[in-house]
């Protein structure tokens, strides 16, 4: 999965949270897994954690008949991909912040490159490539593992509620 997205921090812009020493990959994975499995609607879709690196995370959406958006083609609905992408982007922001700060999606643009193949799992890999005091910028790709064929790409921005604790005020990850 050495995709174009792995151009991390080459823009010289610096990140509000970019100067921290690298975390143990195992710790990263534990954080990401906890976040991903904590979300009720992710559980309802069967979304699960796959892997995590610095600022990057991959989640998986298994194929299920209940997600079908077109009964003729049995292709899953774009909304299920939207949920996977939004959830993966949010998890990448949490990984970049490394603190339980509430965040909320400001905007998400999704390009659907091709219909997801029926019966195949969809993976999404998101990278939070820049954080400022207020905003996190994320890009994400959804693809079929194995072939690596891209299903969708997304760009998202998230507001960061610094100074607030998760579970208190602010919109949190929603």
């Amino acid at each position: 999965m050495g995709r174009a997205m792995t151009r991390t921090r080459q823009d010289g812009s610096g990140n509000q949270d970019g100067e921290k020493p690298p975390l143990d990959p195992l710790v990263l994975a534990q954080i990401a897994e906890a976040i991903a499995s904590h979300v009720p609607h992710n559980q309802a879709l069967g979304i699960r954690f796959v892997s995590a690196e610095e600022r990057c995370v991959t989640l998986a959406l298994p194929y299920d008949e209940k997600l079908v958006g077109n009964p003729l083609t049995r292709v899953i609905h774009g909304g299920a991909i939207t949920t996977l992408l939004d959830g993966t982007c949010g998890t990448a922001v949490f990984l970049a912040l490394r603190e339980p700060i509430p965040i909320a999606t400001l905007d998400l643009r999704i390009d659907y490159l091709r219909p997801a193949t029926p019966e195949k799992e969809v993976h999404a890999r998101a990278e939070c490539f820049r954080t400022t005091h207020n905003v996190a910028f994320v890009r994400c790709e959804a693809f079929h593992p194995g072939s690596g064929e891209l299903v969708a790409v997304a760009n998202g921005t998230f507001i960061i509620f610094r100074g607030k604790k998760l579970g208190h005020r602010g919109r949190g990850k929603s």
Binding site: V39, P40, K66, N70, G79, T82, T83, T105, Y112, K173
Partner: protein, 149 residues
């Protein structure tokens, strides 16, 4: 000729989308329905705990709001075009304006451009107060002019 095309034709003629919605598993799963309210097509996502993205607030998962916006846009495109095939989404841009509270959510789409193949739809979602939208989106679909399945 297929069952889905018949459902699309029937829905458009009768302005009753129940049978078509029922044929789409994901809409049933999310609790999304399409209602005709004062001549307007309104999408409705009935609240369920499984739609939550943030359990501590609680707030709806952004993905479910995106799904309601997209579905409502698809049905608006279906109503206003001749196609008998479900429109294919090309791109959607969602602005999340307010947190989605744990209540029913509604959406209404407006066609901003209806071309032969491309349909642009602007769509807005709200909860108790329609003047305070929780999200809005622009979506672009490709519609096939004829029923090719």
């Amino acid at each position: 000729m297929n069952l889905l095309a018949d459902l699309v034709r029937m829905s458009r003629e009768n302005r009753d989308f129940t049978a078509l919605v029922d044929a789409i598993p994901y809409l049933k799963f999310l609790g999304i329905g399409m209602e005709s309210v004062n001549g307007e097509l309104v999408g409705k996502m009935t609240y369920a705990d499984a739609l939550i993205g943030n359990a501590s607030l609680p707030a709806l998962h952004g993905g479910t709001i995106g799904a309601l916006l997209e579905s409502t846009a698809i049905f608006q495109a279906l109503v206003e075009s001749e196609t008998l095939v479900l429109p294919k989404i090309v791109t959607i841009t969602v602005d999340f304006l307010r947190s989605g509270r744990p209540v029913d959510t509604f959406a209404r789409g407006t066609i901003t451009k209806q071309g032969k193949r491309v349909v642009n739809v602007s769509v807005e979602a709200w909860q108790e107060d329609r003047t305070r939208p929780i999200a809005r989106a622009n979506a672009i679909f490709i519609v096939e002019p004829f029923d090719e399945g």
